[in-house]
Each structure stands twice: as C-alpha cells, then as structure tokens.
Amino acid sequence: MLGNLSTKDIQIALVGAPNSGKTTLFNWLTNSNFKTVNYPGSTVDISVGKINRRYSSSDFLIVDTPGVYGINPKSSDEQVTLDYLFNTTPPNLVIFVVDSTQLGRQLPLARQLKSCGFEIMVVITMLDLLKTKFSENELVSISNHLGKIPCVEFDGRLGGGLADLVNTATNLLVSNKKSPQLINFSETHLEEAIKYSQIFTNELFAKKKLNLTTANSLSTKIDHLLLHPFWGIISFITIMTTLFASIFWLAAPIMDFIDFGFTELSSLVLEISPNNLLTQFLSDGLILSVGAVAVFIPQIFILFVGIILLEDSGYLARSAVLIDKPFSKVGLGGRSFVPLLSANACAVPAMMAARTINSKREKFIALFIIPLMTCSARLPVYALLLSVLFLNQPVWKPGLALALLYLGSFFIGALAAKILSLILPKEKNSFFMMELPIYRKPKLLHVLKQALSRTQNYITRAGPAIFGFALLIWLSTTFPNYNLEDKTERLTQSYAGQVGKIIEPVFTPMGGDWRTGVSLISAFAAREVFVSSLAVVFNVTDDDETTQQQKLLMTLKDSKNSSGDYLFTTSSIVGLIIFFMIALQCLSTVSIASKEFNDKKIALIQLVSFTLIAYVAAVVTVQGLRLLGFS
C-alpha cells in the first residue's frame, strides 16, 4: 500500500484507445473543462490535473493521454503516450478506459500493459450506447477474463460510478514503483489475444441478449446518405458552405450592437475631461483599439460553434474520408482535413492536431501549409479592408468577397502542398485507416460552453498584444508634440511619424505609406493588431453622429499619402489582402511550428519565405492592377 509516500507524487494515468472517453473521465475527475469531441485523436498531448477534492482527500495527479491502439506506436500522438508510460517516471496506476461497444478489440491492450508491469484497473464507458449496465457478476467475470484486473463502470454523461472508481483506484495504489518494461508482442500474439477477448465478449453479450449491430445501425443508415458517392459530396459541400456563410450572416446584428456600445463608451469617457491626456488615451487609444477588434468576436464565436457541432456529431471523421482522395492529389490525405479545418480558427491548435497524421511526409506538408489557412485573426483584417473597399455598397458584396478569400486560401494552400509533394521524397508504409465513431446528437449546453471557452482563450491570447500595442502606438503617435492643435501635424512630427518616414520606401510599392507600414509591422505581434493600429494611427476625432466603425471606414477611405493620392484604393486594398493571406505574421505560430517540425530551421524558413513571397505578391498585385487601370 501507500506507506510513507507523499500523495502529491502519485500519478494516475488514463490510457485507452482513441475516442474511448478518457478526456470525459479526466474532466469529471479533475473538474476541468478540456475539450472532448467525437473524433478519434482529439487529445494530442498529455494533460495533468489534480483530482477534485470532492472525490478524494489526497492530492493525486490525474494524467490524460492521447489514445493508443497498441504499445507499438504508429503516429506521433501515440508516441507521446508511450514515451510518457515507459520513458519518464512511470505512473503509479494506469486506469485503462474502454468503450463498452469495443470490448473485444480494446481489452487485450489492458492485459498487455499488465504484462509490462503496470498496476492497472479497467473502466468501462459508453454504456448508454448499449442501453444497459453490467451486473456485479458480469464485472467480476470481465475482471477474471483479464487475469484479475479490477473492473468498474462509468457513465460519462452523468458521472455515475465515480465514487466506486476512485475507491478502487485508491486501494490499488502502490508506493514502490517498479519500472515497467516494454515488451514487443508478436503479431500472432496480438491476433490470438483479440480472438480470445472477442469470443469472451460475444458469449457475455449473448447471455445479456445484446446485439452490437443495433447500436451501429442508425449510424450506418445516416452514412448511407452522408458517405454516398454522390449525395455524400453534395452534403459535404452544403455543410461546409453553411458553416462559413453563417459566420457572416448570423454575426452582423451582434456586431452592430457591440460597435454601438464601444462608440458610446468612447464618447462618454472623452466628455469627462476632453483635454486630459489620460481620458484621451482611454478614448482614442484603448477603447478605440479594443473596440476595433471586439466587433469581430461574434464571428469568431460562431465559427467555433460550427466546428464544435461538427466535432461532437461525429461528422469530422466522415469528412476526412470524403476528402482523402482529392487531398492525396496534393500529397495530403484525409487525416490532414481536421488540422486544416481547425486552422481556419487558429494555426496553433491546428499544428498540434497534425500529430494524428501518421505519415511523416503528409504531416510535414500539412504543418507547412496550415499558416496559409484563414485563421480567425485574419478575419478582422479582411472584414475591415473589405468594408472599406465596398463602402456604401450592398452587404452581399463583402460577404461574397470574404467567401472567395476562404476559397483563395484553400487554393494557395493546395498549390503550396503540390509544390512540396513534388520536392519531398516519396514514403512507404504510411496509412489512412480512419475509424468512424457512432453519430451522437450534440448537446447544446456543451457546445455553447466549449465555444465560449475557446473564444475566451482567443481573447486572452490576443488581448495583451492588442492592449500593449494600443498603448505603444498611441504614445508614439501622440508624443513628443502632444499639445499641437493640428492633429495631422502632430502625427507627422510624432515618434512614429519620424520612424515611419525611414521605413516608408518599403511600403510605397504596395501602395501604402508610413502609417500602413507602422500598422503592418505591429501586426507581427498578432494579425488583428493591424486593425487596432490603423484605428489609432488614422484616428481623427470629429464629433459627429456616426459610430466608431463607420467613422474609421470613412477616414480610411478619405486618407491620402504625402503626395495627395488616396491611400486605400482598390489596388492597395487588394495588395494588403494578398499580403495578409500569405505572410506569417504570428509569433505563436512560429514557436509552435518549431516544436512540431522538431526543427527551428524549418520554422524560420517558413516565416521568412511566406513573408517574402507575400511582399512580392502584394507588390506585383498592386502594380499589376494599376497597369490595368484600377485606382
């Protein structure tokens, strides 16, 4: 038993096949809110949490691990689990989580882990799919089948069985950890073990008069339509179009409301003391820049809701199947679909999701093109630039243009993937093999909670950069001559103006001036800072009736460079958009890339090449459009 060992050092690891319910159990045990989705391979890294005091008086650590099918890893997310189990301090107890509908196939791994020397117990989940429970006797017989591994049930939807589970776990903890040894089981051994477990489960289920195919039959029926060679593709296109279209149509009214709120707040603050530097900073610096970005939060939230709905229903695995063949034409495969789709929210989790791709070549290509997808940080930038381009024109125009930008980024991504697939050496023995989970009805509350927590993550990540640069840009555009009456004069003589003049020649070929340049450089902290920087740099506070957003659009539309030409013309806006589509202006992406490529050099090559190509493409576009007669 535990002896004198401090309970703080006790680690309990949750191990099991992908999509067996480990993260759900982890969330119950630690009272946390990690994302759980209905897609095999949604956990790609180790998470550690303290056990909730409600269930145990000791501070055990619970460790959630990426799903594994066996103890010979075949992809890097499986490698993470195996490295944890065998290479670092091994866990004091392994809780082996098994899906009740997959007992025959998943139980052998529990026996293998015991043979390797782990202290282990089994938790059976997803009993709602079987619409039954196991009796005390049946649990004992499963335990006997496994060579006396203790066995309990757990209901992931309501949390039933937790007390029993924690009790069993506490009794099993041992203080003198032996180091487990990795055993290389032969293929015949594996085959025999599965057969043995399957015969056992079949007998068990026959006694209970359970027919496993009934649990599957509804999913099979749905798949008849959603994986149909023709209707499957039609539904895929419809579902994806609805997802991206709803980002714009659903968000519009909420965005107007937020814009109105920030506008009121800004004028209220300024009224308190119009000539005070602090109120000026709060109003023209902080509220203005935070507001410029906050307007786009509803769009980001709706995008997250859409992605989570797809994840929870089980459709993502199907989309991966549908897209496998077309993706293989550019050196990718179906397993790259989920990382690339989530890259439309953020490249950072997307790069981590690429760990589920077992082919090294495919994974490399996917990691390389992920930053080209339209991440949510680009959304505010595109939305602002398109609103200026289509100022006072019907709303469907910017909406359609935005849809085209999404398509455009898929096209650029595909092109880059194709080029890479021609350069990189061919690879043998990679595989696709996608398990299709049973369809489940997404729970609204869960979906909204998850979307909210991901939106919060987005805000906390982008927030400090927006705040910091709001301060920096406001300071550098206001000082040293902050008491000058003429605002244009004050800006030109400011620190930002002086530095801007030096770097201006770089931005003139893309149709910008030093103010666009300063905003573009600040966007390397985070892309959305571009919007808040523009708002501060171009801020001209005239007290009129329009809202902040309207005013910013008009100011941009009317601004001219030092030689008196309009700054935001068709050519220069298109040029800026092209720049944002390709350039890698995101330091968090660069740092996660160097980790996932396991090579700093490749991450740097990615940063430099994307940004250079973006600049050249933007200049070529602007000059080309001007030659063609666009303003």
């Binding site: 099918y69 595989f431 093999m433 299709l436």
Partner: protein, 76 residues
C-alpha cells in the same frame, strides 16, 4: 502466371466475407489487427468513395474507412 488473390478491396457493396490472411508491411497489418481485422473475422463492404477513394468496412462492431492499398492487405 501470377494469380491475383481476392482481397477485401474486391468486395461488392454489401458483400460480407471472412478474412483468411493478412498480407503486407508490418506497420499496416499490425494496425489492421489492432482495429479488429483478424483472421476469421467477418468483413462487410458498406460504401465506396468515387474515383478509387477509401472504402467503408464493418468488422465486428466497428466501422473503418480503408484506402485500397490497405484493404488489399486483407485476403478473403
């Protein structure tokens, strides 16, 4: 003359057969076994994606999508 073995890839829509043997690279066959494609198991072809894309198979109680070169490892 090379006699082409019949594999799961040759199954017609809705057709079920019993796996006789697993052939192919160890990485692939080992994962196939872990998924439940073992000798003696019944495998059914549920769906075929167009242009020789992945095919959907049912084995014991699970549904798995396999590419052609993967289902060709399952001799029936």
């Amino acid at each position: 003359m090379i006699i082409k073995l019949k594999t799961a890839n040759d199954l017609n829509l809705g057709e079920t057969s019993i796996i006789k043997k697993l052939n192919g690279p160890k990485e692939v066959t080992s994962r196939l076994r872990e998924l439940g494609f073992i000798v003696g198991a019944e495998v059914t072809c549920l769906q075929k994606m167009p242009f020789d894309g992945p095919k959907i198979f049912q084995v014991s109680s699970i549904t798995v999508a396999l590419r052609s070169q993967e289902s060709e490892c399952l001799e029936i």
